[in-house]
């Protein structure tokens, strides 16, 4: 549900980073924040607990540039990954234009990935969205850790729709901008379909 403002010549789109607890959603946003020019970004807002776990959401507004005289703005959100914040996760998906699913590549987190992906589908459906039709990218994060599942196996498990995916090491920035760019591309091309 983008906001197209002919008056100020702006297009605003909402992208949500989803995934199990501690998979690196907030880390993705922090990296984007660090590596973006000050004039292209707003404040990174984190509603987090004292132990820096996301409580409600992180929010990062980006104004990357113009297309045909329209300023393109992306609002990046993360959801709280921990299972018991289900009610909050649902709210953040309202009005979403594109989803990034950040999967944790560690072998012991595969069940959590599957659980989170199911949760995403259910919550989207409740808002009237279908993950099959939404702009959607997967990031296989934490590829630098020793106990990771091969990407091909993860893809079989988590990506039946065969959407574009990227390997990520969000702490060092690997795959972060590739992921963002891919989802931004899909969101803008989706707009093109509708207008």
């Amino acid at each position: 549900m983008s906001f197209i403002n002919y008056s100020s010549r702006e297009i605003n789109c909402k992208i949500v980073y989803y995934g199990p607890g501690l998979c690196g959603k907030t880390t993705n946003l922090q990296y984007v924040y660090r590596r973006t020019n000050p004039d292209q970004k707003g404040k990174l807002i984190s509603l987090a607990t004292e132990t820096e776990r996301t409580l409600f959401f992180d929010f990062l507004p980006l104004a990357l540039g113009d297309i045909r005289g329209f300023k393109i703005r992306f609002h990046l959100y993360t959801v709280p990954g921990q299972v018991f914040y289900a009610a909050s996760r649902k709210l953040i998906l309202k009005g979403v234009d594109g989803v990034v699913f950040v999967a944790d590549s560690q072998i012991e987190r595969m069940d959590s990935n599957i659980e989170s992906l199911d949760d995403l589908k259910i919550n989207l459906a409740e808002q009237g969205y279908d993950l099959e039709k939404l702009p959607y990218i997967i990031q296989y994060n934490k590829r630098d850790l020793p106990n990771v599942v091969p990407v091909e196996d993860m893809d079989k498990l988590l990506n039946p729709r065969k959407v574009p995916w990227f390997e990520g090491v969000a702490v060092t920035g690997k795959g972060v901008f590739e992921t963002l760019k891919a989802v931004a591309r899909q969101v803008l091309f989706e707009l093109k379909k509708h207008y």
Partner: protein, 164 residues
């Protein structure tokens, strides 16, 4: 996408701006914001220069969303007014229709009673303007006359340029 993207035109934006300026004056408030329920800032009036308006819009929408979640848990449809009282500044947040959030920030130069009264009047006028916008979008979509030039030619190169 669900086809309910929010679209704002010059003409309606001017009408909205006029209403907000009027409300700002009549309610004796400091700042007024109009925010989409998804967290996009639509318009503002008053002393906005010291305020991070984008963050404020997103957090207000989060606030309304959380309150709406609580309402549903309690079997209420929605709580249409929120009020936060601070030492100096107070915030009055209200829903217009099901889509738009009106935020009024005021201090001791005004009062909750006055703000509530003026907000009620302004909400009716603003509600009508958003109704007009919806009709206009539906009409233009039906006729296929919505300004196509922005999106029709978006290319991979445009997107590459955004991330340069």
């Amino acid at each position: 996408m669900t086809g309910s993207d929010l679209v704002m035109y010059e003409e309606e934006f001017r009408k909205i701006d006029t209403e907000l300026q009027k409300l700002h004056k009549q309610s004796n408030s400091k700042v007024i914001f109009l925010v989409d329920k998804n967290g996009q800032l639509i318009a503002s009036a008053g002393e906005t220069h010291d305020i991070d308006t984008t963050s404020l819009a997103s957090l207000t929408a989060g606030n309304i969303a959380a309150t709406g979640g609580i309402a549903r848990l309690l079997g209420e449809k929605e709580f249409t007014i929120l009020f936060h009282e601070g030492e100096k500044d107070n915030i009055h947040i209200s829903l217009i229709g099901q889509r738009i959030i009106l935020v009024v920030i005021f201090d001791s130069r005004s009062s909750l009673g006055l703000v509530r009264l003026r907000v009620k009047k302004a909400s009716e006028a603003l509600g009508r303007i958003f109704e007009e916008i919806t009709q206009k979008v539906d009409k233009e979509k039906g006729e296929g006359t919505l300004d196509e030039s922005i999106f029709a030619e978006i290319s991979d190169e445009d997107i590459d340029n955004l991330f340069r």
